[in-house]
């Protein structure tokens, strides 16, 4: 978008541009000053008529340079200025003369030119070092990476991209295409069609097939699929979710729950987006408790068909993404064969006929407007005795043979169902990463705004202070950046574990996915809210993107598993050391396990540390790690003791669970913190040497921040004394301030293309 603007900027114009830039960026130009500028320009004889016209056109206060023009100036100046020595740019006049003459045979540094520029500089009141600094600081920043960061943000981006740099760069490139431009669309029906087109465009690029077998045109690169989802979350989240529904949920159901016959028939058409489908699991009456779904799929041996049916209104499928555009649904229903209910299975049910009309017995209703994600067509679906061939049963974990007999490799119906659900765990990892991408974007926008937005200051006369320099502002933004890095590393470790799982780690992966999805999405919701507030009124305008990030990602905390429910599953997983079937909500298994075992142990705890307020100690890897471990182990032991106590009093296990529910969440929280910290530690260990200092600082901040968030618990349990928690607060504050100059680099390393940041406040140099 800046190319047209750039073409008109020649070296002659460049000579004057530094003065123009600073004049506008300080927003100090009065109309009389503008008039004076025009007069000086008209006298500058090195300028040609067109140049004068161009410059004069930007001297009208009612027609200020739009942001892209302004940024174009900055870029043009930077481009030339970075080639100069510092000595050649000690004032705006010097800078102008130098960049204007770079590569020009006959330098224009005549006395007349210099004096005209100096007159301009003086009249504008910018013949002082501060004004020059404003511009020069931008240039200097460019010199050493971004904004004087202590590290290369490109190198840090590589650390974040990890093994998926290639596919991530491909996605970044792809998403810069105008077809993916972020544009507000108030009408949901129009918006949905646009998103559908974008989904098809992605399919046409082949990025929708990474998780499927090569023989069906796929890529067999599961990790790449996750990376695609993560990058897509920098674009319109409606696109991300519609993509996830079509290729992850619907595609995943066909691929992971179906067998060869389904793969052959549907996989390729599905990932090419020729066959649109949905994942019809949730019902109005049953969301979290999917085992209790009411939809029935009854095998009719007379016709060798399966009859799919919604027995009551609340058994209607609800919130189903892609429902209105879909031709087919993977319907989760109680499979009844010969009068016996074998539990929930998935059945492919065509929704539309050849002409596109809905088939008899299918009723689809629009869920209407939502807080966000209005580019996704969520709907409700009811089935009235809909008949499909027996083969439409996705039969990997449960089949009906030609004799009408049901069989399954997994005998226990509950275990069977949760095995099916487990096959879809990758969705939770994707949602966690998607929410982080949204948080990264909000942090990028809020940070970049706060790095140029000024308000208040030491005096009424001088320049105001950058809002990023207020401690309260640093408190809001910088710890959230550190935590975002922490969850990034933990989720990527989990993704690798999942991609490489041969079945050994399945239960642990399910536990971690539930926990990290919950913690990451809550973190994102909280962070985006903070960023909205940190940008004030600007943050409330749609054009600045944070509102959409907020509205679109808000559902992440409750879909693909409600966080509160998931955190309880995490606690159950931990209590049974991952030996219990994951989703199983039966409390008895945990109880039995608890009564049998009691081998949790608590780390060696050094009492001397209670009062140790030494800076080195507080910022050491060991202290932070031990403190995280202690909280987890102690709260786990307390929880299991509490449960045992209730059980020994013959309390009904369900009641015992209710009574300890809040404590279970605490244990789950502490556990996921331990896992997250561990990933962070390993990431530092495996990073290039020059990345270790910045990563270590982020690690320390994340660690101390988390410890302080739980300081009440640590003090209550006498793990530390008040003097120590106070010392930790001081150290944390110091690290936040130390990270302040690195902030721009830290958010740049997220690698979000400017086109997807889109928010004017992230670019504006004058506001």
């Amino acid at each position: 978008m800046s190319s047209t603007t750039m073409t008109s900027i020649n070296d002659r114009i460049l000579t004057v541009l530094p003065l123009f830039y600073v004049g506008w960026s300080d927003s100090v130009l009065s109309p009389s000053e503008m008039k004076m500028i025009r007069s000086v320009i008209s006298e500058m004889d090195f300028l040609e008529a067109d140049d004068k016209k161009y410059l004069s056109s930007w001297t009208d206060p009612t027609n200020p340079p739009p942001e892209e023009v302004f940024r174009g100036w900055m870029r043009a100046i930077k481009e030339k200025a970075t080639k100069l020595d510092a000595s050649e740019r000690k004032s705006l006049v010097d800078l102008g003369l130098q960049i204007g003459s770079v590569g020009v045979a006959n330098p224009k540094d005549s006395d007349a030119t210099r004096s005209a520029l100096q007159r301009l500089e003086k009249e504008l009141g910018i013949d002082n070092p501060m004004s020059a600094d404003l511009l020069l600081s931008h240039i200097n920043k460019k010199d050493k990476g971004s904004y004087n960061t202590s590290f290369s943000s490109e190198a840090l981006k590589d650390v974040l991209d990890g093994d998926y740099k290639e596919v991530k760069e491909r996605m970044r490139h792809l998403l810069r295409d105008p077809i993916f431009e972020l544009k507000h669309e108030a009408d949901k029906d129009i918006y949905r069609l646009r998103i559908l087109e974008q989904v098809k465009a992605l399919a046409a690029q082949g990025v929708s097939g990474y998780s499927f077998p090569k023989k069906y045109g796929g890529g067999e690169r599961h990790g790449d699929h996750i990376a695609v989802f993560e990058m897509l979350s920098y674009s319109d989240l409606s696109l991300t979710i519609k993509f996830g529904v079509q290729f992850g949920l619907f595609g995943g159901a066909v691929y992971l729950l179906g067998t060869e016959v389904h793969h052959r028939k549907y996989l390729e058409a599905m990932h090419r987006a020729d066959l649109l489908g949905c994942f019809a699991m949730t019902e109005t009456g049953h969301g979290s408790n999917v085992k209790g779904l009411h939809t029935t799929a009854t095998y009719d041996s007379k016709t060798d068909e399966i009859v799919v049916h919604s027995p009551n209104p609340a058994a209607g499928k609800e919130y189903i993404g892609n429902a209105l555009h879909s031709e087919m649904a993977a319907v989760f229903a109680q499979l009844i064969v010969d009068g016996e209910n074998h539990g929930v299975h998935a059945i492919l049910v065509p929704l539309r006929g050849e002409g596109g009309q809905h088939l008899p017995g299918i009723k689809v209703e629009d869920c209407g407007y939502k807080m966000g994600l209005n580019g996704v067509d969520n709907g409700r679906i009811w089935f009235d005795q809909v008949r499909v061939p027996r083969e439409n049963l996705l039969n990997k974990y449960g089949d009906i043979d030609t004799q009408g007999k049901y069989s399954s490799p997994i005998k226990n119906p509950s275990k069977r169902f949760f095995t099916m659900l487990g096959a879809l765990v990758v969705g939770r990892i994707c949602v966690g990463l998607g929410s982080l991408s949204a948080a990264k974007k909000a942090l990028t926008i809020a940070s970049r705004y706060a790095l140029h937005r000024r308000q208040f200051g030491p005096s009424d006369k001088g320049p105001e202070t950058f809002i990023m320099d207020y401690p309260t502002h640093m408190e809001r933004i910088i710890p959230a950046v550190a935590k975002t890095y922490a969850y990034d590393f933990a989720l990527h470790d989990l993704a690798e574990m999942q991609v490489n799982d041969d079945g050994t780690d399945t239960r642990k992966i399910e536990t971690l996915a539930a926990g990290l999805k919950s913690k990451a999405t809550w973190h994102a919701t909280h962070t985006i809210q903070t960023c909205r507030e940190a940008c004030g009124g600007k943050g409330y305008l749609q054009e600045n993107q944070i509102t959409d990030l907020k509205a679109d990602s808000d559902i992440f905390t409750t879909f693909e598993g409600d966080n509160t429910v998931l955190m309880q599953l995490v606690a159950k997983g931990v209590l049974t050391e991952f030996k219990q079937s994951f989703h199983d909500d039966g409390s008895m298994a945990v109880i039995k396990f608890l009564l049998r075992k009691a081998n949790y142990k608590i780390s060696e705890y050094n009492l001397l540390h209670k009062r140790n307020t030494d800076y080195k100690h507080l910022t050491s890897f060991d202290f932070i790690k031990e403190t995280f471990d202690y909280r987890y182990e102690k709260s786990l032991i307390k929880l299991s003791e509490r449960m045992r106590k209730y059980l020994s009093r013959k309390m009904d296990p369900y009641q015992a669970f209710l009574k300890t529910q809040v404590h279970m969440i605490d244990v789950a929280d502490a556990y996921i913190d331990v896992v997250t910290l561990r990933s962070f530690y390993h990431k530092i260990h495996n990073s290039p040497e020059d990345m270790k200092p910045i990563l270590s600082r982020l690690y320390t901040l994340y660690g101390l921040d988390t410890i302080l968030a739980n300081k009440g618990w640590f003090l209550e349990n006498e793990y530390m004394e008040g003097a120590k928690s106070k010392a930790i607060r001081k150290v944390r504050t110091k690290i936040i301030q130390d990270l302040r100059p690195d902030l721009h680099g830290l958010v740049s390393a997220f690698g979000i293309p400017d086109e997807l940041i889109a928010a004017p406040i992230a670019f504006s140099e004058f506001s």
Copy 2:
């Protein structure tokens, strides 16, 4: 909406309705059961043909009774059933026979009828006490207030309504009118016109003039104006804000900053909404720091005019509500007379000519879509040398005489400006109360949903558990309800103080308004978010209202003063014991005050209390009050010591402020907590005896919840030991559980008309 449905329900139908109701509400009716029902119905000879037709029409599972029908049934049953003795409704059959015969001369309790009903009951599998209970519990609830609460929710509503019951009831009645129906409108331009019509409808009702003098058609009842705003916030918040801009901000500027000449000319037309206006203060470049506005208003003695001008793009007025519909603006600008800048003053600037076109020099731009409040036309306005007569200066605090001389009753320009701002403090009180209304509505919706929504349960067979019965759910909702009551009382006390202020309490009122506005709006933002998550996917659908509450009220934390900035002002107010001019951002005044005085004192502190974990002690008014006071006093003393230390080291005062900024927020927070608790205490003291138990329980919960939220601080400062904070947690949990049966009554007392609750999930009896 139920009236059409109701007409078809006669006494014969009523006889069968209890069975129908429970059948559907359990969502257990299979098609075969439906068939059976039809057959039994056809045999019931007391039913007429039309009755049979009606009943049969609701036996088709693909055509379930919509919610309004279902609710109509409930209402019809309740209406009759409440007149019965408990003995007459011990089963669904008894109930049906009784309500069907009420007022009928010839009771239909023949053996044939009874046995047909019993057959139906048995076949449906609802011939058990549990099924009858489901329905009967609803009826019983209605009998004793709502949901078996321990108090009358009507009486509690009276406590909340206080002295403003009459105007509040008037508003509740008015807002039930179909013209105020909550309807989603995606297109902002259409939406804005609807809101404009609603504003005019309110003006036509005369509720827009309460704060203006009688001689200009007003009501001279300032408190009523605040009550109107509070009730309006139960309706569409776009309406609330547009109303607030027109009558509170624009009207307030004319009334409070202008003099007789302006009042005579504009007040009546303004509050009748014949003259639409806006409040043009904020600029793109200056929001929080309004003293630094760039717009100029230069007096031209030659023509006796004031020239209003935006000297640069960032000096454009921004986010101005009502900007697109306004004919006039109260423009805040630096008033320059004879070359001297007298600081910011307000000037009335006509924006449109007779024909409605914008006047020369006026440029208005739409701010576009926002996160919410899209029914409000926020815009940007630039002025290019716009000339208005000298008389357009709102001249109460600064005037230009016929000789062109400036004069003001307040010599110090800074003090003068902040006196003007202070006149508008009522806006902050209104915003605080408006945010509470939004929180109340979200809590009402989430509570009512959780009281009928079931998920999971002790076994796969029996009924699932109401989600409100999960401790994690109680934790989310019930403390938020208590805190909402607390802020309600505190804000109403403040409103009274403001309404009755004769100038004595002005500084304190400004401080309290800043602090309570901040705490209440943050509380609302947090609570509405919690309610969204607590309602899962249903909470994400626009139809259930929470999404609009979230999006619309989100800006409250940063408009009418950014909360973080306001909280610092609170701290400054406290540090100077309200002797310093409020908004003044000059740190020096505080510093001087601090160096002069050191008379903060800490309450007598009883060391014995450190370990006292006695239930009575922990729930006592005294313990809670002392603990709040201690936190405030101790943190205030620490802050002033910290500042003195920096200053004694000759640190620059601005730097000293930055270094203590985070601590200032802590002090402000503790102070507002103390104030809030005090209001709560007084409210209980002044309430009817039968209200004291429930109010005391809420007080205790609010108190202990706040103490626990700061337990890290209390432990760190050795105010209590770990054993005590653990005991407080237990007590808090117990109180939450004790309040669980009262929850429905607690939210009912907010008195939000059903038409404004609007969310289907707050009514649905089967989901």
